[in-house]
Subunit: 412 residues, 2 copies
């Protein structure tokens, strides 16, 4: 079963808003066995919408549309689809009640725009919207389905999860899709490809391989589609086992998990706690750790010591070392880790001090120089990294390096 | 001048990787006067690439492609474009030297895959890649341009900024585009649309209006395209002035700036400093503040006090109030703000304490209950917010509310 995703809206098209909707929909639908053929983003323009729909319906079974369902004049999705399927606009009682309930709960009364949103095409079924006033629309014709949903991400997500996926599963018999990710670190894509070329040539035709380079390493993705999930997974597992013999040290995980999730599990298993003392990462490591639900079980807190005086006063860094070696140094980053571990009374602590850029670099310590420290029950270690020139990337990378240092330590 | 953006790669199509490239390219090209007609994401598949190119070239002047330029077997963009333009692959000396320099600087030597990347089509000009081994490709035919770039975001961005935009500006005479954003808060989209309907109907046809709802309010975007930037801007300014008379209190900014940037400017102007004491936001406010380059001028540091013991020990919250009112209370969040302001010796401090979810809610304090505190030179204030059920959104929203409280205070 093939699917196209169509995002409608100038804010996406001209790059004002990042299109997280198409990404999320693709991921969810792929998980349940749909093959995504194309994602398209266009403007609220009738001809272009119709042309894109024509193309999609001649290639796929299902078209999922987001955007253009609001109550304002720049929203065209409902009238265009209503024309496309030859319908008329009629009030949907259930939708009217849903809107009324939502609007009055917020302390407002039904205005003209709210009432207008209860009008849907008589050629579609309404998809109820738990979080907003625009209903979704489900059209069917010749065995094919066209669904329109609002562009507001959590409204759309609610509809996909609660209604669209159950209805699609009822209508189609879907194949199983297995994706296996293999995370590698410390090896460039071209060298990896060279090492794996022999293995790659002998891969069964049913398994598709992709190289996905990113700032924290190259991911390999093995994918397979078929009827029997267990058989697909075991064929892939066999290949991952071979991979592990070719690049044993480069592979660090085969699970689609964020490093902060892995660390959370490991800390919980060890009944251990963590704190951070951050300078150049400015709270980003702490944010990643606390983005995991339940992190209060093992995360106690942090000192973000951006100013040097805070490093001295709050973390016990010696002024002498600060003056002699500078804030971005092994001595300081190790004292920061020891200091915050003692202050927060934790088992582990991570610390960072570096030059995120774009200013502050010198010949000796260029932009991108980052020291990461880690205090453990057995002492303190630290490592220097030479990252790039971009501030945002340096913060992300430094946080990733720090969390990976802890992950490796916890796995020893 | 019209443009299509084509993203090639399964990792984007199936929702493993978020497509930030199309977003970034659209924004940059729109800024210099291109109209984006369509963004498309497809798989590495020859027929689909060719079909999409045919469609684009019959509709637009420029096609910008990312992805599929790596050295591995799943990368098809170069051979497909080379065939499309009827060329042959030849080694480019400059590209070879660039790759060799990059590879040896990393401590490696040229392998077969590296050498392969120096082969480009004799029908294109190479675009040099400052940050990676895959060169970009610039094809021209019949007054139209097709550009292919790697999918790695910072490699692509370097090419667009340093080469593609200068070359496009040389080739085309571009119109001026003016976008004016008007940020509103505290008013729902449907009510806003109702209030603005009369004004909207009388807008000059040359000015396009869009409503952009997001988690921190509804943005209005007024856009206009023409030859004279000054005239376009002044026609839009006139309309913004009218808007301000219709919804005077809802508008909080007309600049495309992040609130952390606005705060940074205001603090610097006032020669004032800031610290944060975060519980439920877990360092995210601190991360936002320090994501602004030069923030060390006004940001001193933070205490992330996830555990209650840290609130007491490090921020001077009284155990009595913690027990009586709970961690998520006015009393505690105000003491946190006062405590961190004194500790970090700053002029302002923000604090948060709330229930981000999904666990930890009660009938009295449901998930989404967040207290934000703010200590200023004149005392301490606090505010309670009832946000949603989603952990990630609650963290983002709470941080946004806190920074907005400070922004309003600094503007008094």
């Amino acid at each position: 079963m093939n699917i196209d995703i169509l995002s409608i809206g100038d804010e996406l098209l001209i790059g004002h808003t990042l299109n997280t909707n198409a990404h999320w929909i693709a991921h969810e639908l792929n998980q349940i066995g749909f093959t995504i053929r194309q994602q398209t983003t266009i403007s609220d323009e009738e001809n272009h919408i119709v042309k894109t729909l024509d193309d999609s319906l001649s290639n796929v079974d299902v078209v999922l549309i987001t955007g253009g369902l609001g109550p304002t004049n720049d929203d065209l999705t409902l009238p265009v689809l209503n024309n496309y399927f030859g319908g008329s606009l009629v009030e949907d009682k259930q939708v009217y009640q849903d809107i009324e309930k939502l609007v009055t709960a917020r302390g407002f009364w039904m205005n003209e725009n709210n009432k207008k949103q209860a009008l849907i095409s008589d050629q579609c079924k309404a998809i109820r919207n738990e979080y907003g006033t625009a209903p979704g629309l489900w059209f069917e014709k010749g065995g094919k389905v066209v669904v329109a949903m609002p562009g507001v991400p959590f409204e759309m997500r609610g509809m996909i999860t609660n209604t669209v996926i159950p209805w699609l599963k009822e209508k189609y018999i879907l194949p199983e899709i297995v994706h296996q990710l293999v995370y590698t670190q410390g090896i460039a894509e071209s060298i990896l490809a060279e090492k794996l070329s022999g293995w790659e040539e002998n891969l069964p035709a049913t398994i598709k391989l992709a190289y996905l380079p990113s700032y924290d390493g190259v991911k390999l993705r093995l994918s397979s589609i078929g009827k029997n999930r267990v058989q697909l997974q075991s064929a892939i597992d066999e290949q991952v086992a071979v991979l592990k013999t070719i690049i044993p040290t480069a592979i660090y995980s085969t699970q689609e998990e964020k490093v902060e999730e892995i660390i959370g599990k490991l800390l919980r298993e060890n009944n251990a706690t963590i704190a951070t003392a951050e300078s150049c990462t400015g709270g980003y490591i702490s944010h990643l750790i606390t983005s995991v639900s339940g992190s209060s079980d093992y995360y106690k807190g942090s000192v973000i010591s951006y100013a040097n005086e805070i490093k001295v006063r709050e973390l016990g860094v010696t002024e002498n070392d600060l003056n002699t070696y500078g804030a971005v140094s092994q001595q300081v980053v190790e004292q920061m880790a020891i200091g915050v571990k003692a202050k927060m009374k934790t088992d582990y602590a991570l610390s960072t001090s570096g030059i995120a850029g774009p200013d502050g670099g010198s010949e000796e310590k260029p932009v991108g120089t980052v020291w990461v420290g880690m205090a453990t029950p057995n002492g303190v270690v630290s490592k220097k990294f030479l990252l790039g020139k971009d501030r945002e990337r340096n913060i992300l990378k430094a946080a990733s390096k720090a969390l990976n240092m802890l992950r490796e330590e916890l796995l020893r």
